[in-house]
Symmetry: C2
Amino acid sequence: MRPLTHPALGDVTVEGILHALADPVRVAIYARIAAAECALMCSEFLKLDARDIPKSTLSQHFKVLREAGLIRSERRGVELRNTTRCEEIESRFPGLLKSVLNAHRVQLAERAAAAGAA
Amino acid sequence: MRPLTHPALGDVTVEGILHALADPVRVAIYARIAAAECALMCSEFLKLDARDIPKSTLSQHFKVLREAGLIRSERRGVELRNTTRCEEIESRFPGLLKSVLNAHRVQLAERAAAAGAA
DNA sequence: GCCAATAGTTCGTAAGTTCGGAACTAAGGA
DNA sequence: TCCTTAGTTCCGAACTTACGAACTATTGGC
């Protein structure tokens, strides 16, 4: 197992961020980590919106988020403690994460409303 | 040749937008269309930042932008006139496109500065 | 009207990416 | 030491992407 790698802020790219957040599972994960008060472990997400995510897939999703520079993961014993790097990214790309998360929230609300109406 | 299809605003997704803009060629195209005063044709982009983009690849990129709901393409004779749908998208996902384009601009500026310093 | 030119699209294939199951590693108990 | 828990790696199948060649549609010249 190779050690966890996190890009320096200067190596974070807009493309990497957008690619990472262009996946429904990954935005959902990221949104929840961003909203949480404390660090969350990967296994928190094995069930996501009533859907089962296989462990290997989840591990890849975390890797993508980490390598995009969106989250920081620290090993704590057996677990990983995941937190966002949003302040850092905010300093370089102001407003970006806020508006992506907001758009994601808008879309969730619309879908919930549509499902409720049906 | 099937007719050009544009999704209704309600069918535009955040994932689709982010996926479309997660490609350097496509953001560059989108940024230029968004900044232009008038509609631009596809062939404007056969040379992009001193790089040649093959016609078939370009056509696919435009298709992705169109189907993500980011641009509107109208046939005018042999050509396509491409314009952005940014006001529409702004009404649904406020701030999203602005901050993505801004982040893209920041990154370009940084790269230009780094290239200048080297 | 016919031919050539121009602007984009489609098709097919090669290269790359993503998903997920099975087998793995690493740390912490019992 | 062995078991359990948390996550990673490997690898094949399914999917996506890039781009050349062949195509379609529209216009202008004759």
